[in-house]
């Protein structure tokens, strides 16, 4: 800096005023630069989260200020068959939908990784289900699954004459559960496919060339090159995917509202149903808080289960 090259007498004369000195003071600068970010995080993240957790320990309702009741909400949920039902379906929904999304998404990514005409355009089109607002696609699926006006029923009954009655997609528990999972998979595939495609393109072609010279089959190239190289990104994408799926709300709420008879409630929809519709804010918050352990477990599993170095480097090489 030019100031330091001045003779010492000059420095004494040009002693900067207090504002300049304050801004040269490192700790102050650090605080000043961080304050906006910390402020935003506090107001929009920490406070709502903290309030949510606090509410879970009170009996607040929409019309009434609550009092601290300790674990009462959680004790009630423990005995509540509907909460257990929601836990079961949340886990089931997440497991099946994530598996489906990854199987189909990975497959799609491998296909898109090939060279073919209009490659970029097709890659863009694949993203569509993910770009469309969830509520819109949920409404579309709501019509597709409608007991009276379903396009699938129409095709099977009136056009192809394969069935004589409409399919009752949402009227009984298991078909309703799988219908929702199918909708979620449809929506989630692009995210997985595009993320994995990005990962695939980082794998050096020379690895495949070397393997081909050694006479490796397509399956062997996939199993011993692609899969291990993809493990780190798979772990990240899966973590995100599990979190998104487990906390899904819009699809289920727009299509079934948790019905028939609460068989498709996810923890998120049950929390909304109890907290906002039923007015029991405290209990709704408790249901939302009860999702945290599952999410932490899922995250840890993806991280430590899939991101192990051993996997990435092959079994034999420790």
């Amino acid at each position: 800096m030019s100031v330091t090259t001045l003779p010492s007498r000059g420095v004494a004369l040009r002693q900067p005023n207090w504002i300049a000195r304050l801004f040269d003071y490192k700790p102050f600068l650090i605080v000043m630069c961080l304050a906006p970010a910390i402020g935003l995080l506090t107001v929009f993240l920490t406070y709502p989260l903290g309030l949510g957790v606090w509410l879970a320990f009170t009996d607040t309702t929409i019309g009434q200020r609550g009092i601290f009741i300790g674990l009462e909400n959680f004790q009630y949920l423990w005995t509540d068959p509907l909460w257990w039902g929601a836990v079961f379906y949340s886990v089931f929904y997440t497991a099946i939908a994530t598996f489906g999304k990854f199987a189909l998404g990975f497959w799609l990514a491998l296909l898109l990784n090939n060279h073919f005409p209009l490659k970029s355009l097709l890659r863009a089109i694949v993203l569509l289900p993910w770009i469309v607002p969830t509520v819109l696609s949920a409404l579309a699926f709501w019509w597709i699954y409608d007991p009276q006006f379903s396009i699938i029923s129409y095709l099977l009954v009136d056009v192809l004459h394969i069935r004589s009655t409409n399919i009752d997609f949402l009227g009984t528990p298991w078909p309703a559960r799988f219908s929702l999972i199918a909708a979620n998979i449809w929506r989630g595939i692009p995210f997985v496919a595009i993320s994995l495609l990005a990962g695939l393109q980082t794998i050096s072609p020379s690895l495949y060339e070397a393997a081909m010279l050694d006479g490796a089959t397509a399956w062997q190239r996939f199993r011993y090159i692609t899969l291990p190289m993809m493990m780190p990104i798979l772990a990240i994408v899966m973590t995100f995917s599990i979190i998104f799926t487990f906390t899904d709300f819009q699809l289920v709420y727009a299509i079934t509202r948790g019905g028939p008879v609460n068989s498709t409630h996810l923890l998120a929809t049950l929390a909304f149903q109890r907290g906002i519709a039923g007015g029991e804010l405290g209990e709704g918050a408790a249901i939302a808080v009860s999702m945290i352990p599952f999410l932490v477990f899922a995250t840890l599993f993806s991280y430590f289960g899939l991101a192990r170095r051993k996997w990435q480097q092959g079994e034999a090489n420790d």
Binding site: D59, T61, I62, G63, Q64, R65, Y76, P81, L82, D146, P147, Q148, F149, T165, N166, D168, F169, L170, G171, T172, P173, A176, T256, R257, G258, G259, P260, V261, N262, S263, Q273, R274, A277, G278, G279, E280
Partner: protein, 448 residues
């Protein structure tokens, strides 16, 4: 809460009320509404008063137009500015909660049915207005009294503006083709009718999914027509009763005759199925009939349709509750007298009768004298809605109305009890026990 009325302040409104009485008398020749000659209460309008109110959005455009015109007329006659905001149905209860908790915002909110009972501590009593209106217009109908008065007292905490209900709507020609003129009043008869409709390929359909309006309407009808109810008069939960079990057994018997998929129906599903002629019997508000009638493509369906009050079963009168518009005046309002004067003004026949007529039957009157309004003779198929507020049944029957009664219907507790039995997921006994447990959870704080 009594309002201090000084003689000087009373002059302003007294004069305008007198003017009103004069114009009212001259209008008497054309209006069929009989109004008794009762002196109106004199409210001391606060200096510089202005009012803000919220109400749910309209069914028909004319509703909003006439309502706004009436409010403008009030401003012209009294000089009190009134700002009316129309709010979506889904949002009105949340906005009421915020207004009530924060003690700021609109002076008057027209909410739904049970709202005044939830915010009772924050509301101004309206007895001076309601006493006068009741005496002048032939008395308040039973449903208006239930929703307007604080339970087990004569204190009016809400001012009902009107109600709408969901009676049966059916296809005359289809019923005739299987040998019925109308839907029977007894359970065995209804079951037989539905079985025959099912056989004829034009089944009945009632919402058993998470449908706030239609689903609760069906579940309540099934229970009440078997003399079962959520609460007794004291507010004890009596849903797990032998009457409920009987009702659930009947629901289980009748469910297979419905069109497939009713367990996933929401509030619009039955409208669509009826409009597309997939079903020939359901229960719905008058909106379904009007949407059929106003569309040239479905006009023929409307002509072939008929409304009927929900069958009585074992009940003495048709067990049908109406969704009620219920006005609340908040204590935080700086101008309670102006607000009362406004509410009273809006219920006077010069304003209320045109408004009632403009709604073409969507809302029906809370005061007996308005039964003579022209709207009820305009279309014979709509005239049964005239008696909506004659009903002695209400959401939370037959206990005191509270936050919890509203929560039980918002959380679909009774619908899900019926649907669980209908679909075979639970036995009647297990479903009733579960509903009892869920209801108890919502009612656990009622005593506090």
């Amino acid at each position: 809460m009594r309002n201090d009325i000084t003689r000087r302040d009373a002059l302003a409104l007294g004069a305008s009320a007198a003017a009103l009485a004069v114009t009212g008398a001259s209008a008497q020749t054309t209006s069929p509404i009989k109004a008794a000659d009762v002196p109106p209460p004199k409210f001391a309008i606060e200096k510089g008063a202005s009012l803000r109110m919220l109400r749910p959005v309209r069914f028909v455009q004319a509703d909003e137009d006439v309502f706004r015109a009436n409010a403008a007329k009030f401003t012209k006659e009294t000089g009190i500015e009134v700002k009316v905001d129309f709010v979506g149905w889904e949002d009105i209860s949340q906005q009421t909660a915020v207004t009530s908790n924060s003690g700021a915002g609109p002076d008057i909110i027209i909410g739904f049915s049970d709202a005044p009972h939830i915010y009772v501590d924050k509301l101004v009593e309206l007895n001076d207005v309601t006493d006068y209106l009741g005496k002048r217009y032939g008395g308040w109908l039973p449903l208006a009294q239930t929703y307007g008065k604080r339970s087990k007292s004569d204190k009016w905490i809400g001012l009902p503006f009107g109600a709408t209900a969901g009676p049966l709507i059916y296809r005359k020609s289809v019923l005739k083709s299987i040998g019925y003129d109308k839907v029977p009043e007894d359970h065995a008869g209804i079951l037989d009718l539905c079985q025959k409709l099912h056989k004829a390929g034009k089944p009945a359909g009632f919402a058993l999914g998470n449908a706030k309006g239609d689903g609760n309407g069906f579940a309540n009808w099934a229970l009440w027509s078997h003399n079962a109810s959520l609460l007794d008069e004291e507010g004890n939960i009596i849903i797990n009763s032998k009457e409920t079990i009987e009702a659930l057994k009947w629901v289980k018997a009748i469910y297979p005759t419905f069109i497939a998929g009713t367990s996933s129906w929401n509030d619009v599903s039955n409208n669509r199925a009826y409009s597309s002629q997939e079903i020939s019997l359901t229960a719905n508000g008058v909106s379904l009939y009007f949407s059929l009638k106003n569309d040239p493509a479905t006009k023929a369906i409307a002509e072939d349709s008929e409304h009927q009050l929900l069958p009585k079963g074992l009940a003495k009168v048709s067990p049908m509750a109406g969704l009620t518009l219920n006005a609340m005046l908040f204590k935080h309002s700086p101008y309670p007298n102006a607000a009362k004067a406004f509410l009273q003004f809006m219920m006077e026949k010069e304003q209320y009768e045109p408004w009632l007529n403009a709604n073409s039957g969507y809302w029906s009157q809370p005061l007996a004298a308005y039964a003579d309004a022209a709207v009820w003779s305009s279309d014979p198929k709509v005239s049964i809605f005239k008696n909506t507020m004659q009903s002695t049944y209400y959401d939370g029957y037959k206990g005191p109305i509270s936050t919890a009664t509203g929560a039980v219907s918002a959380d679909y507790v009774l619908i899900q009890m019926c649907a669980a039995v209908a679909t075979g997921a639970q036995t009647p006994e297990a479903a009733a026990a579960e509903a009892e447990q869920r209801a108890k959870r919502y009612f656990r704080r009622q005593g506090r």
